[in-house]
């Protein structure tokens, strides 16, 4: 008994130290969540259109918009979208003039890459993406073909894609939007089109085309929401919301609605 009391006395200090440190972890490290709650709204900067993530169609607004709406419901605030038509016109995000004052979340094609994390923190991943090719008929390889390339806003590795296409001796035509890509392929000017995998899957489904992911040497990335670095309390709440959306099946239902495979199921399109 005496020995036990001695040990308890010895350990009381370290136990107190651990309890004190653990209590500190309950303090909020920033004000990002309290600002959202005080305004009863969370603002998201999105491109005007980037199907299937953002469509601009009120009945079928896009994967990112629907997920964000579910997250906003979980937090108990309204979702305010801030469409930015500068997104995609220029691949330097600095020229999009998106700042902390305009939105708390960036959505519509943000991928979890080192480059993205140089500027932003990221939310949980919900789908996988990468470069994919669409064509009216299956292709064995793309050597010597003429393809349209639509990069839009995706944070995918454009330099890697350019090097790969150069090695394959592909003639590249850069197109500005998905309609231009569809018209080029349908009109026979292009043998195929390369773009972000989810968009490619949608174009292939709409036009009854063949679609395949480009080889593994071109990295695949997780799609995420961009958050401002340091907004830890908001990030934690969004992570909680994602856990809830995953467990109640909402996330899977949204992805299925747009024909996108959930995380860890190898993406929506087969490999080339």
């Amino acid at each position: 008994m005496e020995r036990l009391r001695k040990w308890a006395g010895n350990l009381s200090g370290p136990v107190l130290a651990v309890v004190l440190i653990l209590l500190v972890t309950f303090l909020p490290p920033d004000t990002s969540l309290s600002v959202v709650e005080a305004n009863h709204a969370i603002r998201a900067c999105v491109p005007t259109t980037y199907p299937p993530l953002v469509t601009g169609d009120p009945d079928r607004p896009g994967i990112d918009v629907e997920i964000l709406r579910a997250v906003a419901d979980y937090i108990g605030v309204e979702l305010l979208l801030s469409p930015n038509d500068a997104i995609g016109r220029d691949f330097n995000p600095r020229h999009w003039a998106i700042n902390r004052g305009k939105c708390q979340v960036l959505a519509g094609g943000v991928v979890d890459s080192t480059l993205t994390r140089s500027f932003l923190d990221t939310g949980p991943p919900y789908a996988e993406t990468g470069w994919a090719i669409v064509a009216p008929a299956p292709l064995e390889d793309i050597d010597g073909l003429t393809v349209g390339v639509l990069t839009l806003i995706s944070g995918l590795d454009r330099i890697g894609l350019a090097s790969y296409l150069r090695r394959q001796d592909v003639t590249v035509r850069v197109v500005r939007n998905s309609q231009e890509l569809v018209d080029g392929i349908a009109g026979g000017e292009l043998d195929g089109g390369i773009t972000e995998a989810l968009l490619a899957g949608g174009l292939a489904a709409d036009n009854d085309w063949w679609v395949a992911s480009l080889p593994d040497e071109l990295a695949r990335y997780n799609l995420v929401f961009g958050l401002w670095k340091g907004d830890l309390t908001l990030k934690r709440k969004i992570v909680q919301a994602f856990r809830q959306l995953e467990s109640d099946g909402t996330l899977a239902a949204i992805l299925e609605h747009y024909g996108v495979a959930p995380m860890g199921q190898g993406g929506s399109v087969p490999a080339l």
Partner: protein, 266 residues
């Protein structure tokens, strides 16, 4: 067997003494709270991005995440070096004389003291690990095991350094002043609170920072320990990932050898 028993006894004595020392425990708790809670949160807004595409902080992490591994190193640094104060204490009150006339080898006595101090230092490092979630650093079992290994190496090297200092200092006050004069410069010049941009070449870095500061950071062995901890905890290295382990391994051997050489002359 006698050597092992003695080693265990000395190790246990060091650990028990530290656990009972409320002052050391308060230090172990207050340092992470001050550095993470006050400095980390206080400076966090100044390192966060305000405009998408504009880089204000070259490291792809928040400031809290960036300094988190460094605060672990700081807690280990303080605890390791200051645990060597027990050597002065033992010398002052005659315990060391009693141990020295025992059948234990000098190397065993020193190893017992160093291992004891290193164990306590690792435990103090673990106190900081409890703040991982607060700093948005995710921990997995392999990550924690790798971090514990690095912490043990660092703690062993620094406790040996503490013994080297204690061998040269005769009073408690002198040790306190001298150890602080070693600890703080070591910490501040270890790229703990500011990064050397790994995207920049050596020449470019010397344009961003004055050459003397870059040299101090590069010469400081603790830089590579902090870098190794960053690599293990947040996956960010400013130097070659294996360099930290190599530098700490060499520091363990060299500092323990110096400590043993001087301890034999006690």
């Amino acid at each position: 067997m006698v050597q092992l028993g003695g080693l265990y006894g000395l190790w246990l004595r060091e650990v028990k003494r530290s656990i009972r020392d409320r002052g050391q425990l308060i230090g172990g708790v207050s340092r992470p709270i001050l550095w993470v809670l006050i400095l980390g949160i206080g400076l966090n807004p100044y390192f966060r991005s305000e405009v998408y595409g504009e880089v204000t902080f070259v490291v792809p992490f928040t400031y809290l995440q960036f300094i988190f591994p460094a605060v672990i190193a700081l807690n280990i640094l303080f605890t390791s070096v200051q645990s060597a104060v027990s050597l002065i204490w033992d010398r002052e009150f005659g315990f060391l004389r009693e141990v020295l006339v025992s059948p234990l080898w000098r190397g065993t006595i020193l190893l017992g003291k160093v291992l004891g101090g290193a164990t306590v230092a690792v435990l103090h490092g673990c106190l900081v690990l409890l703040l991982a979630k607060f700093c948005d650093v995710s921990l997995t079992v392999p990550k924690v095991l790798e971090t514990l290994g690095l912490m043990a190496l660092l703690a062993f090297a620094l406790t040996s350094l503490g013994v080297v200092i204690a061998n040269h200092i005769r009073s408690f006050q002198g040790f306190g002043i001298f150890s602080n004069a070693v600890i703080l410069p070591l910490y501040f010049t270890s790229s703990s609170i500011f990064p050397l941009d790994p995207a920049l070449s050596r020449e470019q870095t010397r344009v961003v920072y004055p050459e003397w500061l870059v040299s101090l950071v590069e010469w400081n062995p603790l830089t590579y320990a902090v870098d190794a901890l960053r690599g293990a905890l947040i996956g960010y290295n400013q130097f070659s990932p294996g360099l930290g382990v190599l530098v700490m391994g060499i520091a363990c051997v060299v500092l323990f050898a110096i400590a043993l050489y001087e301890f034999r002359r006690v």
